[in-house]
């Protein structure tokens, strides 16, 4: 999973772990509160992924 692929893309394990934990926590809270709908959750997950992966660029 963390090897360089054919496109020269290599995932950072620390970032990946932070992403999973942040996304899980957000989903965990939302499963209790129902505060965000699916579309809002999708946007928030994308925000987390982009924030964590951001330093690649």
């Amino acid at each position: 999973m963390f090897e360089e692929d054919d496109d020269g893309i290599k995932l950072d394990k620390a970032k990946f772990v932070r992403m999973i934990n942040r996304v899980y926590k957000k989903e965990r809270i939302n499963s209790k509160t129902g505060a965000n709908n699916d579309k809002q959750m999708k946007t928030q997950i994308e925000k987390i992924i982009e924030e964590e992966a951001g330093s690649n660029f």
Binding site: I9, I20, Y24, N30, K32, T33
Partner: protein, 675 residues
């Protein structure tokens, strides 16, 4: 979530200020049980329901507005300005953060003697774990409700605050989502759904995170860049093939030149043709030089066309665009390279770059300030200036190219004429040699003629190949330029590719680790419940859990009716099995070495039970008390004294605090701690 204490102020029968400190495994791991003793109508149900009222603002009392202590209420005069409050305050801990939830409701008596209320008001505070200071858990009611929901949602609370037989939640139709939420599985299900869409679809759905990133990657530039790259590769292959053919032609040309040299050598040897042969040698040398020069000129000529012809062809279009802009009278007073922000900065500093003072209102100030209208972002004048400059540049390039191209062509024509003349002269000398009959040149002459013809053919072929070579070089140059431009664009596509890879990796990880986890946890829940049930129940029943988490009880294969006492045991076995499993998975997760998903799956919950033993006999009372104290993290029993006699056998060594409700009259109950 673990409860630490509950405080009352004039709340129903709990007159004045009263407090119950609850046993918590955080204080003493073995003593996780609190006992509240009281007979019927002593306030046991009020105790359990006060948690619901305080946390969620919901009154489940027979009369919803019976909140204020009746004695206090009775003493209220008919004056709306005089108010009395009923308050419940709960201290609890969740994920190592200490919270205080307080709810109060003010009451007054109006002029007609009726009791009125302002509605309840919640207040949530918590101790910041880093700064160790109290902070607000929400300024508005909805913020507070949202925060409480994150800790223990109301619809799940009915599992943990048991009001006797009134709310047997395990009889709900679909417990799946509630149980999955309590075990932390719902979050993983939703995570997979949001990342990928339906798990039955192989490809991510368009509305999912992965689907969105796929769409954003495909902005077309990738495909175009690939096409340009392939075009470049094809042209490079063609160029290599042409170069090989040119090399073959060069070899053949060299071969024929050598043959011609040999013939000439033989002719040179013949006397008295020496002088003529000398001249022929010079002609051959000049011919060779001229041919080489011609080849170099051709190469320059084709390369010049490939590199510089763009300006020549594009110039008329640029000129037409410039004419149109001129007709549109676009202002071009802008200053190239200067934007409005730079002018504003000068005005702010009050000094121009030339040193002139720019005092507001002065002529220099106005003079400089007016340029704001002509520079970006307000005006496109500077863009027009750029365009004009480009036009001048392209015009120069086009003219230079046309001149130099014409010059090169003239040189090529000259060289061709020179070659032609030298060949004619050589032929004339040969004719002379033949006519004077000094040598028998017939055979050599015939060969020489053939060789020269062949040489001409080869050189023509080589010229043709060279022109092709020029066009392939031009093709490579253009494709490379386009590819580089598109690659710049596709940086954005690459960014989304990276995001997609992360989203995919998360989805795969969750899918691998948790898609089968639910089946496993359902089996474990069934085992927990079955074990608890058979430890509590004096007889034997087989317990199973269906896909919706509903419990089914059978005996020797036949479904058994669950009335009365059996239903209470069924409930406690279910809830006990659930809190036990939630605690187990939390502990397991914390112990796992895997550094991913360090967030705990399950959570800890208290069990607050009223009238737990109303349908239970002595044995079952003891069994239920024992089993629940073993599986629940925190257990709070409100029970009658008669039940305590039997329950205490099952709770030996587990009770940390015990209270007794002392009823003074129908409106006053005192909470006394029993040592």
């Amino acid at each position: 979530m673990l409860l630490k204490s509950i405080k009352y102020h004039n709340f129903r029968p709990f007159i004045g200020d009263q407090k119950i400190i609850l046993s918590s495994p955080n204080d003493d791991l073995d003593k996780n049980v609190t006992i509240i003793l009281g007979d019927n109508t002593f306030g046991k149900s009020t105790f359990v329901l006060s948690f619901i009222w305080c946390l969620y603002g919901e009154s489940r009392f027979t009369k919803a507005n019976d909140i204020l202590n009746k004695k206090i209420e009775k003493e209220l005069p008919p004056d709306p300005s005089i108010k009395e409050k009923a308050i419940v305050e709960i201290e609890f801990e969740d994920e190592n953060i200490e919270y205080t939830m307080r709810r109060e409701q003010s009451f007054y008596r109006n002029e007609n003697g009726q009791i009125k209320s302002d509605g309840s008001k919640p207040r949530l505070t918590y101790i910041d774990p880093e700064k160790h200071e109290a902070k607000s858990g929400g300024l508005t009611v909805s913020e507070i409700n949202m925060n409480i929901k994150q800790i223990l949602p109301k619809d799940l609370s009915t599992f943990f605050f048991f009001e006797g037989e009134k709310n047997n939640e395990i009889k709900r139709k679909d417990l799946g989502q509630a149980v999955r939420t309590l075990l932390g599985l719902e979050a993983f299900n939703k995570m997979m759904e949001h990342l990928h869409g339906s798990s039955s679809d192989k490809e991510p759905t368009a509305t999912s995170v992965m689907g969105d990133y796929l769409k954003k990657q495909d902005d077309g530039s990738n495909k175009k860049a690939k096409e340009e790259f392939e075009r470049k590769e094809r042209a490079e292959n063609d160029l290599n093939s042409i170069k090989e053919k040119i090399q073959e032609k060069d070899n053949e040309i060299q071969n024929y030149e050598e043959l011609i040299d040999k013939v000439n050598e033989r002719l040179r040897e013949a006397e008295p043709s020496k002088e003529m042969q000398k001249r022929r040698d010079l002609i051959a040398k000049d011919l060779k030089d001229a041919e080489d020069s011609l080849e170099r000129k051709y190469n320059q000529y084709f390369r010049a066309f490939s590199s510089n012809s763009f300006s020549l062809f594009v110039y008329p279009l640029l000129e037409s665009a410039s004419n149109k802009l001129e007709k549109m009278q676009v202002n071009d007073k802008g200053i190239k390279g200067i934007e409005a922000s730079a002018i504003n900065e000068l005005l702010k500093r009050g000094v121009c770059l030339c040193g002139c003072d720019l005092k507001e209102g002065t002529a220099p100030y106005k003079n400089v300030a007016k340029y704001i209208d002509y520079v970006p972002p307000r005006s496109i004048g500077t863009l027009v200036l750029d365009m004009d400059e480009m036009l001048v540049e392209e015009e120069d390039k086009a003219k230079n190219f046309a001149d130099s191209y014409e010059e090169q062509y003239k040189e090529i024509v000259k060289l061709r004429e020179k070659i032609n003349n030298l060949e004619k002269e050589d032929e004339a000398i040969l004719q002379n040699l033949k006519e004077i009959g000094v040598i028998d040149t017939e055979g050599d002459e015939s060969d020489l003629s053939k060789y020269k013809m062949k040489l001409q053919e080869l050189r023509a072929e080589k010229d043709h190949l060279n022109s092709k070579r020029g066009s392939f070089e031009s093709e490579i140059q253009n494709a490379t330029k386009n590819y580089n431009a598109l690659i710049g664009k596709s940086e954005s596509a690459r960014k989304y590719k990276v995001y997609y890879k992360y989203a995919e990796a998360i989805y795969n990880w969750v899918s691998k680790n948790y898609s089968n986890k639910e089946d496993e946890l359902r089996d474990r829940l069934a085992n927990n419940i079955s074990e608890l049930f058979n430890n509590m129940y004096s007889g034997h029943r087989e317990i199973s859990i269906d896909k919706l988490y509903n419990m089914k009880m059978t005996f020797q294969g036949d479904i058994v009716d669950d009335t009365g006492g059996l239903r209470v045991i069924e409930y406690f076995a279910y809830v006990g099995g659930l809190v036990k499993l939630a605690h187990e998975v939390k502990v397991e997760r914390e112990k796992e070495d895997d550094d991913t998903a360090s967030e705990a799956l399950g959570e800890e919950y208290p069990l607050v039970l009223d009238a737990a033993f109303s349908h239970a006999d002595q044995t079952h009372t003891k069994n239920i008390a024992r089993e629940l104290s073993k599986c629940a993290n925190q257990l709070i029993f409100a029970m009658m004294k008669k039940d305590w006699t039997f329950a205490k056998e099952g709770l030996e060594g587990k009770v940390g605090r015990m209270y007794e409700l002392e009823k003074i009259d129908e409106t006053e109950v005192h909470i006394k701690e029993v040592q």
